[in-house]
Symmetry: C2
Subunit: 198 residues, 2 copies
Amino acid sequence: MKLHWSPRSPFVRKVMIAAHELGVAEKLTTTRTLVGMELINDGLLPENPLNKIPTLVLDDGRVIYDSLTICEFLNDMAGGGIFGTGAARWEVLTRHSMANSFLDALILFRHERARPAMQQAPGVLTAFTTKTTSMLNHVQAPPPGRADIGDITLAVALAYLDFRFADLGWREGRGALAEWHAAFSTRPSMIATTAVDG
Amino acid sequence: MKLHWSPRSPFVRKVMIAAHELGVAEKLTTTRTLVGMELINDGLLPENPLNKIPTLVLDDGRVIYDSLTICEFLNDMAGGGIFGTGAARWEVLTRHSMANSFLDALILFRHERARPAMQQAPGVLTAFTTKTTSMLNHVQAPPPGRADIGDITLAVALAYLDFRFADLGWREGRGALAEWHAAFSTRPSMIATTAVDG
């Protein structure tokens, strides 16, 4: 299987962490695919017309995305349990949605902050600041030792905060969450997928 | 069940169409909840810290989102078949992801176009134009009569194009897709959820 991949994409990282947790990472052949808000990758468009990574291409040519669908496909293939079953599934998926929407918001927030000052919308910046605070105050530190798709996505989002929003100081007053993230970050799946410059 | 709702949100419409298709629409008590890119709704934040609709609140207080998770919850509750099973599931979910990412892009595109000229980023506008064309050229007209979660989301996205991007003339040169959308739009679920001014 070919995975359109980039070392710094948090959504790619989510898939790679899930693959490591499920023991199927070695089945993925990663190919570096550069995309961006203003960077269209003509080689990717035939497989994903919205220009997004991760995108998974199976050996028979079938294409699977987005990151959540890929993670569930890998979970199914591996006979894993990172999505929960029965009533637990909705709780896991809602925690996933929260962390994933947070990541979406952070990526837009980052783009807004990176614009030339004249192109920035003050109302947008204020709203993103409010949502970031609201999310961090709302989210509970998960129980230790667990690594479902909600936990994985939360860990990726907090790591992305460290990577792109170090100035926010998200740990301040959030000791339990910071402690959970520090412990989660020692998992082999997290260490194997740490973004490196390059 | 309480659904945080708005008549013009395409993601809310997706949930309402799915509910109608599954025969469970009457189980949803809709409550109008205004949100926007720059409009934080303080009443929603305790239930969804990212300020997004749709958000479903069950009678026992459990909260479920985003739109995809709500649709799958309703499908499960109704014993429906709009997600597919086995290998079909990944195909359905990937078509859903394509249409849903398209909607995400269109909403950002609309916000970018609505900014004061000086705050617009030309590179962002160009990239959104490219993605819109790429998506419309890539997507296949689904078979007639079917209404899975991929079809529903595609129909919502094309209706959103008519609503907010009438100038794009998306039907031109895309007769099969236009014909499919016209037929799909006559479904009771589509008619019951048409956005009205108000």
